[in-house]
């Protein structure tokens, strides 16, 4: 093997190692806006786009989703998600019947409490789904919210 090709090989290996490291690092540090995920129209597609898997464990004990049963105004629906699951690094909010399913994703650094409170919009009566990633596994719970005034379009 010539000197040149050995150097070439080494460079290639180094490049591959860096690439592998970059993919192994948590998304947290480089969270690019997940355009594909925000275009999805149903929960399995959203999960696939965000996490590369649609397999999710329904967990009504480990996740608490606080949201009203009846939203007078779909433009402002307060939602609180808390969890007792360990090492939560992602909380996502989805609305089944919105024009796009995924409303928001929150990426949490270690040390953050598994707690998010925000206001979302709802187009019509639908399930609100809270999705939590804990130790690499996905858990979700949901609640039906009746909407009397559409908050997404006129």
């Amino acid at each position: 093997m010539s000197k040149l090709s050995r150097r070439f090989l080494l460079k290639g290996l180094l490049g591959a190692a860096i690439a592998a490291l970059a993919t192994a690092l948590p998304r947290f540090a480089f969270g690019a806006w997940p355009e594909q995920a925000f275009r999805t129209k149903n929960v399995p597609d959203t999960l696939q786009a965000l996490f590369g898997t649609a397999s999710v464990i329904t967990d009504t004990k480990g996740i608490t989703l606080s949201v009203t049963d009846l939203a007078e105004n779909g433009a402002v629906v307060p939602v609180t998600v808390t969890s007792t699951l360990p090492a939560v690094d992602s909380i996502a909010l989805m609305v089944d019947k919105n024009p796009s399913t995924l409303a928001a994703q929150f990426l949490l650094a270690p040390g953050l409490k598994p707690f998010i409170k925000t206001n979302i919009k709802m187009a019509e009566t639908s399930r609100v789904i809270a999705l939590v990633r804990s130790e690499g596994k996905l858990y979700s719970t949901n609640k039906k919210v009746k909407v009397t005034l559409n908050g997404c379009s006129s």
Binding site: F28, A29, G31, W33, P34, F38, A75, V76, V77, V95, N98, P99, S100, L102, A103, A104, Q105, F106, L107, L108, A109, G111, L112, K113, F115, I116, K117, T118, N119, I120, K121, M122, G151, C152, S153, S154
Partner: protein, 104 residues
């Protein structure tokens, strides 16, 4: 963009709770202007980052489905009174804003 963000960070029993609100229309792109009948283009915050003493602690990826004048609350361990909490955001027109506060 000044005075478009309000942040409060309070420490209680070792847990810092951050509450923030940003003035932003968060237009969905699905409404029409009542007068002209033209569609109001989507205009929304896409990304929000929160730093505690310069360290990234939370990143929010948002869509049009976050309400107008977005509100967000979250909490973390390890804060101390006087620490800086900084929040910065960027919307789909690449306009950004930021604000900071001290934990009290």
């Amino acid at each position: 963009m000044e005075n478009t963000i309000k942040i409060r960070a309070t420490l209680e029993n070792g847990v810092t709770t951050v509450k923030l609100q940003i003035l932003h229309p968060m237009d969905t792109g699905l409404f029409r202007d009542a007068k002209t009948g033209n569609v109001i283009p989507a205009y929304f915050i896409k990304e929000l980052r929160c730093e505690h003493n310069g360290k990234l602690v939370l990143e929010a990826l948002w869509s049009i489905a976050i309400s107008k004048n977005p509100y967000l609350s979250f909490s973390f361990e390890g804060g101390a009174a006087g620490d800086t909490v900084k929040v910065s955001w960027t919307d789909n027109k690449e306009i950004s804003g930021s604000g900071e506060t001290q934990i009290s």
